[in-house]
């Protein structure tokens, strides 16, 4: 089937198209340069056209999410919608049920959403949820930062073996890339402890975050994976944590990149939670300036925001000790889930409020990051959903980035506490994102960062994932119409996925299966086999499940989209 999307105003930063009026053509699910006369015409004259959105970091499928849904019926009943002839019933606000997750992303014009934390032992669960989520492609990141094998090999400096292990475990878990969460800290949580800074060793294992980050980064580049290591550093959410953040990035800057598409060797995720100065919640101030300055001066790092949206939400992370800290702070119901030999995790509901000084400062810090990091290719829009706010708020975050007036108004009329202005530089930042910048931080940048050569742009050969919004960029001032920006980005005029119209006028018109997007390394099979043979006795002794039953069977990962990587290159 051939289509021509006619006369839209196109923003496609990868192809350096900045608001040109042009047609976008696609055939059999792929973008093409020309179509025949029989192509179906979709008239989008003067409307805003972008590649479909890519979310670089979201928690949307898997065991943590499920604990959240299971133990927060009070969240689930927010956002309840009956089924329609096309859609199934929806529930939930911060942790929507799987069908709603797919619909809501699709309605915002998103096509690809990364699931940011998969514990290998329960990877099947993540893939089961991906099956239940419609309409978006989902690359899952596999957790490695507190894995016993990794910690042991990192201590012994066995980089080749880590590469073999990672290569094998990406296949076993059907994962896309390497995620590191509070390295060594989540293992310490196995004993109710934590580590602080990158040189504080994990109990017993006597290995540090510095060693684990470096080892995994080296292995990642040895394999030439499409994405770099994806790091949630130590000390998340602690006042005075910004040096740890800079150290985590700086400690591996000498490691050489092995990828032609992406620029970075480390991705710093939800940076907002890692940019605090001060010594306590009393004297906390923004620590964005030194972090942004570091990122501006170094090209081996990219980051995403982790923007606080000032909502009641559910926090969830593999950073188990952080969640217990949060429980002690709020007293709200605490869930925890430690995974044998691999990781920890925790959840606590959280109410971010503009009346609260700390939450308001956090709100300012996220925006500061996006405004102080000069190159929009180095920063992506996220809310670490649902941690700093649910993903349905992305359009609101866009509206804040596009309007200095709106930000100033929020600080002036007390929608946020005075700390937002007093303890950060946000009030002095008059930079405003334009549509090209928005397309960069939500499409083009994420595509580069993840090595998604086939998406995030509208060049010939790319998959036809396209979003059209009901805004006329040539006839609209986003700096003065924040509410209209939010409304338009919340309800796509069209969301097209693999060449099929899934959303029209903000409503779901078609359901398709989501693809499990994953990486397979080729040419490393012998090394994988050798390492599996070596670790198998240990595996059998200390896991509680047979290796045969540990592996994610193909059954759970259909349909798949596999990025093949040649390790010998």
């Amino acid at each position: 089937m051939e289509y021509i999307l006619k006369n839209g105003i196109v923003y496609d930063p990868i192809n350096e198209i900045n608001g040109e009026k042009k047609d976008v053509m696609f055939k059999d699910g792929k973008i093409v340069n020309s179509v025949s006369d029989s192509a179906k015409v979709i008239d989008v004259t003067d409307k805003l056209v972008m590649p479909a959105g890519i979310d670089v970091h979201c928690h949307l499928a898997g065991p943590k999410l499920c604990v959240g849904r299971l133990y927060r019926p009070e969240d689930e009943r927010r956002g309840v919608k009956p089924k329609t002839d096309i859609t199934r019933a929806e529930t939930g606000f911060s942790i929507p049920n799987c069908p709603a997750t797919g619909y809501r992303f699709s309605r915002m014009g998103y096509g690809t959403v990364v699931e940011a934390a998969v514990p290998p032992l329960e990877a099947k669960h993540t893939h089961e949820e991906i099956i239940a989520i419609p309409n978006i492609d989902i690359p899952p990141l596999t957790l490695f930062g507190n894995n016993w094998f990794i910690m042991q090999f990192a201590k012994e400096g066995r980089i080749d073996d880590i590469a073999a292990f990672v290569s094998a475990w990406l296949k076993i878990t059907k994962g896309y890339g390497v995620k590191i969460v509070n390295p060594c800290g989540s293992e310490a949580w196995g004993w109710g402890m934590n580590v602080h800074g990158i040189d504080d060793p994990a109990p017993y294992w006597d290995v540090t975050a510095r060693e684990v980050i470096r080892a995994l980064a080296q292995a990642n580049e040895m394999l030439g994976l499409p994405h770099s290591i994806h790091v949630h550093p130590n000390d998340l959410g602690h006042p005075g944590n910004f040096p740890t953040t800079i150290n985590s990035i700086d400690c591996m800057k000498d490691i050489k990149k092995n990828s032609e598409y992406r620029n970075q060797t480390i991705h710093l995720t939800h940076a907002q939670f890692h940019c605090y100065d001060g010594t306590s919640w009393r004297d906390v101030t923004s620590g964005v300036e030194p972090v942004a300055d570091y990122i501006n001066k170094h090209d081996h790092v990219t980051a995403d925001m982790g923007q606080v949206t000032l909502d009641e939400t559910t926090t969830m992370t593999a950073d188990g000790p952080m969640e217990y800290d949060l429980y002690e702070l709020t007293g709200l119901k605490w869930a925890n889930k430690d995974i044998e030999l691999e990781t920890a995790s925790g959840l606590v509901p959280f109410i971010y409020s503009g009346r609260n000084p700390v939450h308001s400062l956090q709100w300012a810090i996220g925006l500061e990051l996006a405004l102080m990091i000069e190159d929009p290719w180095k920063i992506c829009l996220t809310t670490d959903s649902p941690n700093a706010g649910p993903f349905i708020r992305y359009p609101r975050v866009m509206s804040w980035l596009m309007s200095y007036q709106r930000r100033a108004e929020m600080m002036d009329n007390k929608e946020v506490h005075a700390w937002a202005g007093r303890k950060s530089a946000l009030g002095t930042l008059d930079r405003e994102y334009d549509f090209y910048d928005i397309a960069t931080i939500t499409r083009a940048g994420p595509s580069k960062i993840y090595g998604f050569e086939d998406r995030g742009h509208l060049g010939a050969g790319a998959i036809a994932d396209i979003a059209v919004y009901d805004l006329e960029p040539n006839n609209f001032d986003p700096t003065r119409n924040a509410a209209a920006v939010e409304k338009a980005f919340s309800n796509a005029l069209y969301t097209i996925k693999d060449g099929q119209v899934l959303v029209k006028d903000g409503e779901i018109v078609k359901i398709v299966s989501s693809k499990h997007v994953r990486t397979e390394v080729e040419g490393f099979e012998d090394e994988e086999k050798r390492i599996l043979e070596e670790i198998m006795p240990f595996f059998n002794r200390y896991y509680t499940i047979k290796f045969e039953n540990y592996v994610v069977h193909d059954h759970y990962a259909e349909p798949s989209s596999v990025y093949k990587v040649n390790a010998s290159k």
Partner: protein, 278 residues
């Protein structure tokens, strides 16, 4: 004939049961806020949710409508008979008056915001769940979870007044965070569990463990309490105490708890009837 309530004109809607359905009817749409402008014909056209279907309201009720209403405040709806299989009577209502001349089923007055609901019989579980305002009076007994929160929600009943002339079942007022409950009869276990604010008065006897895991708020028991939790610390014997702006006469034993959650809640027991705790 125009019914009259004080100086306000009242539109009186009377539903007289003619047929019993063992599958419960759901009355969440039949609240003054929705129906104040409805004519008799509107009611006769209305189909009420029953299980997975909707059936004409006239299958179950004779309907009388008298007078006019310009707003929900001017509505008086009477269910003139047993409503023991009618759920969500007065659910989310914001104004007006509903009277049930018989029993009411699950969720009577759930999430009520204003107005008044009177049940001249017993009420099933979840009566006054998450009530935010208004007044509910139950002349008979209530079963479990009266004035409670929704499962998992730590912000429960926050306003209004629930008066129970009979006895109350288990787990009255779970996670109560405001408002007032008065049980004139006896009360089963764990009244005011997880309570954070608000006021509960129980005139009859209580089996065990009022105020478990309570953080704040006040519970006054005028009858005899069997078992008290270790989480409550004796504070003082007080005479004629004032609690949350209400004056009580006589001697009371005052406890603070539940210390398991660092609670600052007040539990007052009538000293005369609870000597066994001293």
């Amino acid at each position: 004939m125009q019914a009259n309530r004080g100086d306000v004109n009242v539109k009186q809607i009377t539903l007289t049961p003619i047929k019993f359905s063992s599958v419960a009817l759901e009355f969440d749409e039949l609240i003054p806020d929705e129906i104040y402008s409805w004519s008799k014909e509107d009611f006769e056209k209305y189909e009420v949710p029953v299980g997975n279907s909707r059936f004409p309201l006239t299958d179950y009720y004779d309907i009388e409508v008298e007078g006019e209403a310009q707003s929900p405040e001017e509505v008086k709806m009477i269910i003139d008979g047993d409503a023991g299989r009618v759920k969500y009577i007065g659910g989310k209502m914001g104004a007006g008056e509903i009277i049930v001349n018989g029993d009411a089923d699950l969720q009577a007055g759930a999430e009520m915001e204003g107005g008044s609901l009177t049940i001249n019989g017993n009420a099933e579980s979840y009566c006054g769940r998450e009530m935010r305002g208004g007044e509910i009076t139950v002349m008979g007994n209530v079963r479990e979870y009266a004035g409670t929160s929704y499962i998992g929600e730590w912000r429960g009943m926050s306003g209004g007044k629930l008066t129970i002339h009979g006895n109350a079942g288990k787990q009255l007022a779970d996670a109560m965070s405001g408002g007032e409950i008065h049980v004139m009869g006896n009360c089963d276990i764990l009244a005011g569990i997880h309570m954070t604010k608000g006021f509960i008065q129980i005139d009859g006897d209580v089996t065990r463990w009022p105020g478990g895991q309570m953080k704040n708020g006040a519970i006054v028991i005028n009858g005899r309490l069997e078992r008290l939790l270790e989480g409550f610390e004796l504070d003082a014997i007080v005479t004629d105490p004032e609690v949350e702006g209400r004056q009580f006469t006589g001697k009371y034993i005052k406890y603070i708890g539940d210390i398991g959650v660092n609670g600052k809640g007040t539990l007052l027991l009538n000293a005369e009837k609870n000597r066994h705790h001293l």
